[in-house]
């Protein structure tokens, strides 16, 4: 076995000391994650993006971090921005997913859905900070979801 990382040794010491048990809320959140599974869903693979490239025209000082994902012939661009402690997500599905499609922006506890524009754009505002994932639902196709991305102030 390879030598354990520093943090593994320190974690073993912490568990044995028993002074910092996992909070009940963390365990409850872990259990609730199971409900976020999308049976038959297709995971979109994250791709590298150039700085500033994305769905929103950013002011230079804002510098939102763009994320690009691709799967099943779709590209999903998202730009999460934290404003006043809440998360706004602007994005685009390419090619535009067509009539009857829905874009869902998920967090571990709430989700919000939008009908994308004819060009495939969408905006969801006021989400709690933390983890987010975007799902594209198209009639007759399995849902395509992005990897969970961490967004905090």
């Amino acid at each position: 076995m390879t030598a354990p990382a520093d943090e593994y040794l320190l974690a073993a010491l912490r568990i044995a000391a028993g002074t910092d048990p996992v909070p009940d809320r963390v365990s409850a959140d872990a259990r609730s994650v199971f409900a976020l599974h999308l049976p038959g869903g297709i995971a979109a693979v994250p791709l590298a993006t150039a700085a500033g490239e994305g769905a929103r025209s950013a002011q230079p000082h804002e510098r939102p971090r763009a994320h690009r994902y691709a799967a099943a012939g779709l590209t999903i661009d998202i730009e999460p921005v934290v404003a006043a402690g809440r998360v706004d997500v602007a994005g685009q599905i390419s090619p535009a997913p067509g009539a009857g499609s829905l874009v869902e922006v998920r967090t571990p506890h709430v989700s919000d859905s939008r009908v994308p524009s004819e060009g495939g754009r969408f905006v969801v505002t006021g989400l709690p900070a933390g983890w987010i994932s975007v799902v594209c639902h198209r009639p007759g196709h399995p849902p395509v979801f992005t990897r969970w991305t961490h967004v905090r102030p």
Binding site: T2, D6, E7, Y8, A12, R14, V26, F34
Partner: protein, 180 residues
């Protein structure tokens, strides 16, 4: 030898609700300890642990070897905690593309994150001289303590804390490799 942390085979379909809750009961404490060992605040440690569970749920359909999930969860928590720690330090998020551990090859060293093994580590730690004994006790029990605070407490130069910590952990590893 560190204990076997392989989860029990699930009784129903792989990773149904019951199997999931069993994984949470068995590993969330270890994952929490790993995240906190990075010096993360409780809020950030909670995010790191939740991130590991989210990585599992997003790859649930691809799980082929449920016996490796426990080690993978701990390995993934370490990655998420390291990413958050770097982000908090201002070095920016890591490359998302390459930063999720391979489910087929979790770090076998993750098996040491266990209470029984931790008690062994405490016994060996007590064999270390000073300042290692006090320094590692502080690092283990007060992971959020800044180097300046540790330096003040141990009356050591601030600049020496990082290198001393590394040397002390190296000595501790050497002691752990010796037969009991």
């Amino acid at each position: 030898m560190p204990p076997d942390i392989s989860p029990r085979p699930p009784s129903g379909p792989p990773l149904d609700r019951v199997a999931w809750d069993d994984l949470v009961a068995r590993f969330d404490g270890r994952m929490w300890a790993v995240a906190r060992a990075f010096g993360l605040s409780p809020a950030d440690a909670a995010d790191a642990v939740q991130g590991a569970w989210l990585r599992l749920v997003e790859g649930l359909g691809a799980i082929r070897d449920p016996d490796r999930i426990g080690a993978w969860l701990i390995t993934t928590t370490r990655h998420e905690a390291a990413r958050l720690s770097r982000s908090r330090a201002g070095s920016g998020p890591a490359d998302e593309v390459a930063d999720v551990p391979d489910p087929s090859a979790p770090d076998p060293a993750a098996a040491v994150v266990d209470a029984d093994y931790g008690r062994q580590v405490w016994r060996r730690l007590d064999l270390l001289g000073e300042p290692c004994r006090s320094l590692l006790r502080l690092c283990a029990l007060h992971p959020e303590a800044r180097y300046a605070q540790i330096a003040l407490r141990l009356e050591l130069p601030v600049g020496s804390i990082g290198p001393t910590r590394a040397r002390c952990l190296s000595r501790l590893r050497a002691l752990l490799e010796e037969p009991s």
